[in-house]
Symmetry: C2
Subunit: 348 residues, 2 copies
């Protein structure tokens, strides 16, 4: 590896001072035309590129915000990042992304490395690993250290920072209500274990919808899937469990999946078993992503407006970065939208 050119080298070669080089390169009127030209030409020859890191050392800010997400394949996270990027770029900030891969250790590591100089603030969605071990010391440390954090999507209590979340409860309730209103009597729920906050809330919405409509909800119609590890045959295992559920309850005429994959897999299993979608069984998923759109039949789902979420998060962070007053921390709750496609026959 060649080493990089510096102001000092240019200055030495040309027999001028470092300050002169710096000013010339910035086009300062202090420096004469000839000197400026000479320096610029030589800098170009050496492929000089200023070292911003030295700069941020001086300025104590990097104009960069760090985003840490648990997973990159997730369409929802991709949308959020789009939203963050758009807003951040409009306001002169750059965005850097790092992955936690749902692991507590990697989350801590990434926060540590980024927090120490590379960025001005964080936008992050905590990993499942962190949610499980309930260890938030890294977040507290970062906040105490004076670096603002905005949490999105996955909620955690007892942490003092801005948050943007989706109204999972409402969204899920409306979806299940819509199914009930369109005539479904027996709606299965495919959800995660309760320690995943969003899974829990969506489950709550499912239950509340039944209560509100005066319908009974049977716990045996709820399938809780532990998706902690993405082992090889996770999908097959899921399919088998769904098939068992459908065999056990032939009366099922509606399925609500707490995410795209659950809903889609359920639809696939049902189709293989001979059910016609949406005639025999109607299906709704949470999180509106590529899978829903490209499925056959395409999947009715609850859209989370990931871009908005990203925008909101970026806005909250940048506001806090650029003001000195200590405003109280906010929590923004974003509403969802029911996008109807071919997997349902809803009313209205």
């Amino acid at each position: 590896m060649k080493k990089k050119a510096t102001l000092k080298e240019i200055a030495n070669e040309l027999g001028v001072s470092i300050s002169t080089v710096s000013k010339a390169l910035k086009g300062s009127p202090e420096i004469s035309f000839e000197t400026t030209e000479k320096i610029k030409a030589f800098a170009k020859l050496l492929h000089y590129r200023p070292n911003n890191i030295a700069l941020s050392l001086k300025n104590r800010q990097t104009k960069t915000i760090g985003v840490i997400i648990p997973e990159i394949v997730h369409h929802f996270f991709a949308e959020v990042i789009q939203g963050i990027e758009t807003y951040a770029n409009e306001h002169g900030y750059n965005v850097l992304i790092a992955l936690s891969n749902e692991s507590f250790d990697k989350e801590v590591f990434n926060i540590d490395t980024l927090a120490s100089g590379s960025i001005d603030g964080f936008i992050l969605s905590v990993s499942k690993g962190t949610l499980q071990c309930q260890d938030f010391h890294h977040l507290h440390e970062t906040i105490n250290q004076g670096m603002p954090i905005v949490l999105f999507d996955r909620q955690i209590p007892d942490i003092s920072c801005d948050k943007v979340i989706v109204d999972d409860y409402q969204g899920s309730r409306r979806a299940v209500e819509a199914l009930l209103e369109s005539g479904c009597k027996e709606i299965a729920l495919i959800t995660t274990e309760d320690y995943v906050d969003v899974g829990f809330k969506r489950t709550q919405g499912y239950i509340e919808a039944h209560i509100k409509k005066g319908m009974p909800h049977k716990p045996s119609m709820v399938l809780k899937v532990d998706d902690q590890f993405f082992w090889e045959d996770a999908l097959e295992s899921l399919e088998r469990r769904i098939e068992a559920l459908l065999r056990l309850h032939p009366c099922i005429d509606g399925i609500f999946g707490v995410n795209e994959v659950y809903a889609l897999t359920a639809m696939k299993v049902a189709q293989k078993m001979g059910y016609i979608i949406p005639k025999d069984i109607q299906v709704i998923g949470f999180t509106d992503g590529v899978l829903s759109k490209h499925a056959y039949p395409s999947l009715t789902s609850i859209k989370q407006h990931g871009k908005n979420m990203g925008r909101e998060a970026a806005q909250m962070l940048i506001q806090r970065l650029e003001s000195d007053d200590e405003r109280p921390f906010e929590t923004k709750v974003l509403q969802t939208e029911l996008v109807e496609r071919e997997s349902t026959q809803l009313l209205g």
Copy 2:
């Protein structure tokens, strides 16, 4: 925003020197036990976190590699990043991701900001915008500046750096040959415009397969889609064009899509028109991602081994970073694999 604690502050408060604080915090035996304890306690109180940026200024390296990808929603890119991360972490490097959103300007901007201090080297897949305007000055500058680059997936000629690519030509040829061998007579191709390198190569493979098998290939069976802009009704437009193609050639009994979405959409349209997959029409897609797996019927496709690609890229980059000798630049060509699922009835 609170300001961050520094060594100097700790030193002043405790009436010792900066060097003493630094050494104490690092657990140097030079410093007495009591002093060390006192300093550590106080540092904790102040939520001190060392500023790595100052360090990388000294060391002239950051142990971080930058990855720039055109899009984040793409499953293939996600896999590549997984591969990069795994290898990089194993070798003590951190990974930072930035997005170009297929835009030339953003690619340049990201390279500029990252290149100036934050990272030691790049792994990147050039944006479509860059491919179109054919302006590679930012890459040349970065390389000349002494920062190594590894290009992956999308090829560009005349640029001196390491590259990792998929054998698009072979992969595509094998897929089409497999279709022909299983009895297909009329295979439609859905591909991109030729300026997208991978699209072009996959098209070549399609043509060569026909030539090798002594089958005629009709240009009218090839649908070239311009996917440069993801405008609102891109999908509907694609569907209409595929439908038109199928109506024009009722004899079509095989479809090869140059990516997941093309193949999947084709399958969906065919199903809507009453064709049974794979009995009436067999379908294969390039790029094996989530969509293929979750489709119904699931899609036979050409797996690109994104993780391997990421590993290879990371390995090449780190090797170059850690050795001084100027090895000649390499280009690694990775083979593909045909993953058979439900959308085909291949032989053997």
